[in-house]
C-alpha cells in the first residue's frame, strides 16, 4: 500500500497540470490495466493447467510439444486463433453476431472491479459490491442468448435456450446462498464480509454455512457451463452449443469469458466462505508469527488456486447430467435447502451461536 501511495504521489508530481478528476480517471485506468493483464495471463495458463491436470488424471501427458514441457502452448493457441478467419453464417445478424462475444467478456471482466485482494487492495470499494457482482454477472447470459439467436443456426439456438433457462434458475440459487453470508456478516460490501471473518479458521463462514458453500460451488459450475453441467456446449448432444458458428478470435473471446468467470467464481467462494485474504494460521500460536510475513494476497490466490483445481478435478471425475436433472436439482433440491438454511441462520443469529455472530 505504501508503494501505491508513492506511485500516486509520483503521478501527481510528474504531471502537475492534471487536476483532480482527470488524475483520478488516469489512476483508475492504471488500476484496471494492472488487474486485467494478469487476469488474461492467468486465463491463458488456466487452459494449459486444465489440459495438463485432466491429462494426468486420465493417465495421459497432455500438451508437451510447444516450448519446455508445453509451457508455450497457450501462447501458440492464442496466435493460432488470432490468425484464423472469422466466418459469418449466411443470413446471420452480423451486428448481434459480433456483439455477443463482447457481451460475454465485458461483464466477466467488469465484475473484478469490486473483488478485494487484500486489506485495501481493490479497484473500487463499492458499498453494495455483492449486489454489483450478482447484477453484472447476470448480464453474461446475453452473450450466450445472442450468440444462439444471431447465428441463424439450429444447434446454437437450442444451446442458447437451454443455457438461458439454466442460468436464470441457478442465479436464484446463488443469490439465496449468498443471502445467508450477508445475514451473518451484516453487510453487502465484500471488504466488510472478509473483515468479519477475521480471527482464525474457525471464524470463516464455511463452518456455519457448509451446505451453502457446497450449493454455491455446484451452482457456480452450472453458471460457468462447466462439466458435469455443460449442457450449453453439449458436445455429445448438440454439436457445440452456442458457439458452433464462431471461429477464430470471436470463439476465443467466448473461451476467455468462460475461464474468467470460473476464476471469478473461485475468488467469490474464497471471499464469501473461506476468509478472503486472511491467513489460515491466524490465532494459532507460533504458526501465526511464523507466517506473519506472507502478504494477504498470497493467501487469497492460494485458496483461489485450490478452487480452480476443484473445477478441473470435478470435470475429470463426474459424468454429465441430463438437462431435466439439472433443472430438478435447482428448483426442487437446492432452492428449498437454501430457504431452510436462511431460517437456520436466523435462528443461529438469535441464539448468538459460535464465534460468527
Amino acid at each position: 500500500m505504501e508503494l501505491w501511495q508513492a506511485f500516486v504521489q509520483m503521478v501527481h508530481t510528474l504531471i502537475p497540470w492534471l487536476d483532480g478528476t482527470v488524475a483520478s480517471i488516469f489512476i483508475i485506468l492504471i488500476k484496471a490495466i494492472a488487474l486485467v493483464m494478469p487476469l488474461m495471463l492467468v486465463v491463458a495458463y488456466f487452459t494449459y493447467a486444465e489440459r495438463k491436470v485432466i491429462g494426468y488424471m486420465q493417465l495421459r501427458i497432455g500438451p508437451n510439444r510447444v516450448g519446455p514441457k508445453g509451457w508455450l502452448q497457450p501462447i501458440a493457441d492464442a496466435l493460432k486463433l488470432m490468425t484464423k478467419e472469422i466466418i459469418f453464417p449466411t443470413k446471420a445478424n452480423i451486428y448481434l453476431f459480433l456483439l455477443a462475444p463482447v457481451l460475454a467478456i465485458a461483464p466477466a471482466i467488469a465484475v473484478w472491479a469490486v473483488i478485494p485482494f487484500d486489506e485495501g487492495i481493490y479497484v473500487t470499494n463499492l458499498d453494495i459490491s455483492l449486489l454489483y457482482v450478482l447484477a453484472i454477472g447476470s448480464i453474461g447470459v446475453y452473450g450466450i442468448i445472442l450468440a444462439g439467436w444471431a447465428s441463424n443456426s439450429k444447434y446454437p439456438l437450442l444451446g442458447a435456450l437451454r443455457s438461458a433457462s439454466l442460468l436464470v434458475s441457478y442465479e436464484i440459487v446463488i443469490g439465496f446462498a449468498l443471502v445467508t453470508v450477508v445475514m451473518i456478516a451484516g453487510s453487502v460490501n465484500l471488504n466488510t464480509i472478509v473483515q468479519a471473518q477475521q480471527g482464525g479458521i474457525v471464524h470463516w463462514y464455511f463452518i456455519p454455512l457448509f451446505p451453502m458453500m457446497v450449493i454455491f460451488f455446484i451452482s457456480a459450475l452450472v453458471e460457468t457451463n462447466r462439466a458435469p453441467f455443460d449442457v450449453v456446449e453439449g458436445e455429445s448432444e448438440i454439436v457445440g452449443g452456442t458457439h458452433v458458428e464462431y471461429s477464430g478470435m470471436t470463439f476465443a473471446v467466448f473461451v476467455l469469458a468462460e475461464y474468467a468467470n470460473m476464476i471469478l467464481m473461485a475468488v467469490l467462494a474464497v471471499v464469501m466462505f473461506f476468509g478472503g485474504w486472511h491467513s489460515p494460521f491466524e490465532a494459532i500460536p507460533y504458526l501465526e508469527s511464523a507466517f506473519a510475513w506472507v502478504p494477504g494476497i498470497v493467501w487469497l490466490l492460494a485458496k483461489t488456486t485450490f478452487f480452480m483445481f476443484l473445477y478441473l478435478w470435478v470435470r475429470a471425475t463426474f459424468p454429465r447430467f441430463r438437462y431435466d436433472q439439472i433443472m430438478r436439482l435447482s428448483w426442487k433440491v437446492f432452492l428449498p435447502i437454501t430457504i431452510i438454511w436462511i431460517f437456520v441462520v436466523a435462528l443461529m443469529t438469535q441464539l448468538e451461536l459460535g464465534p460468527w455472530f
Binding site: I139, I145, V168
Partner: protein
C-alpha cells in the same frame, strides 16, 4: 457546466435515444436490446442521484431476469410482420390520441411547476460513508414493514396462480419419476444370459 452535469446530459441523451430506437426498430430482438440500454442509462442516472441500491436492483431484476425472458419468448415466437403492419393506419388515430393524453398528463404531474427547484429544494449531498442500502432497509423493515410484506405476498399469489394455470391438465403431462430412476437395479434393466460359445474345433 460541471463534470456531473456533463455526465447527466450524456446519460439522458443515451436514455432518450435508446428508448426511441427501441420503439422504432423493426427487429424485436434489437428492440429488446435497446430497452436494455435504456435500463442501463436509467440505472446510471440513479447512481448520479446516490440511489445506488435502486440502480443495481434495476439491472439485477430487469436486465438480468425480465429482459432475458423477453428475449427467450421472442426467439420462440414466429412473428409475421405483415399482419402486424396491416392495421397500423387503422390504429393510428387512437394511438395518437392516447399518446397526446399521456404526454399531457406527464407534463402536468412531473413538470417544473410540481418538481421545479422553487417547489422542491435540491436534495442534500451525502458523505462518502452514506450507505443507501442501510437507510432503505431501515425504512422498509420498520416504518413500511406491513406494506412491504403485503407486496411480497401479492407477488407470491401471482406466482402460484400462474403455476396453477399451467398445471390444470395433469393428464397431458409427461413426468419422470426421479426416485424410480435412481433406485433402479442392474438386474431390472439387463438380463445376463450365459451361452456356451462354440469352441474352435467345431468349426
Amino acid at each position: 457546466m460541471n463534470s456531473e452535469q456533463i455526465i447527466f446530459y450524456i446519460l439522458s441523451f443515451w436514455f432518450v435515444a435508446s428508448s426511441l430506437a427501441m420503439i422504432f426498430s423493426r427487429n424485436a430482438a434489437k428492440a429488446v436490446l435497446f430497452l436494455v440500454l435504456a435500463f442501463f442509462s436509467a440505472a446510471s442516472i440513479w447512481i448520479l442521484l446516490e440511489a445506488e441500491f435502486l440502480a443495481i436492483t434495476l439491472i439485477l431484476v430487469y436486465v438480468g431476469a425480465v429482459m432475458v425472458l423477453f428475449l427467450f419468448v421472442i426467439k420462440m415466437l414466429n412473428i409475421d410482420k405483415s399482419t402486424l403492419r396491416a392495421k397500423f393506419t387503422g390504429y393510428l388515430p387512437l394511438g395518437l390520441i392516447v399518446a397526446v393524453i399521456i404526454v399531457a398528463e406527464m407534463s402536468l404531474v412531473l413538470g417544473a411547476n410540481q418538481f421545479g427547484l422553487d417547489v422542491f429544494s435540491s436534495p442534500a449531498r451525502h458523505g462518502a460513508d452514506y450507505s443507501n442500502i442501510t437507510v432503505l432497509a431501515m425504512q422498509l423493515y420498520t416504518t413500511y414493514v406491513y406494506p412491504f410484506e403485503l407486496a411480497a405476498v401479492l407477488l407470491l399469489i401471482a406466482i402460484i396462480a400462474a403455476i396453477t394455470l399451467v398445471h390444470r391438465n395433469e393428464t397431458s403431462r409427461k413426468k419422470q419419476s426421479i426416485s424410480e430412476q435412481v433406485n433402479v437395479q442392474a438386474k431390472d434393466r439387463v438380463r445376463l444370459v450365459s451361452i456356451t460359445s462354440p469352441s474352435k474345433e467345431d468349426k
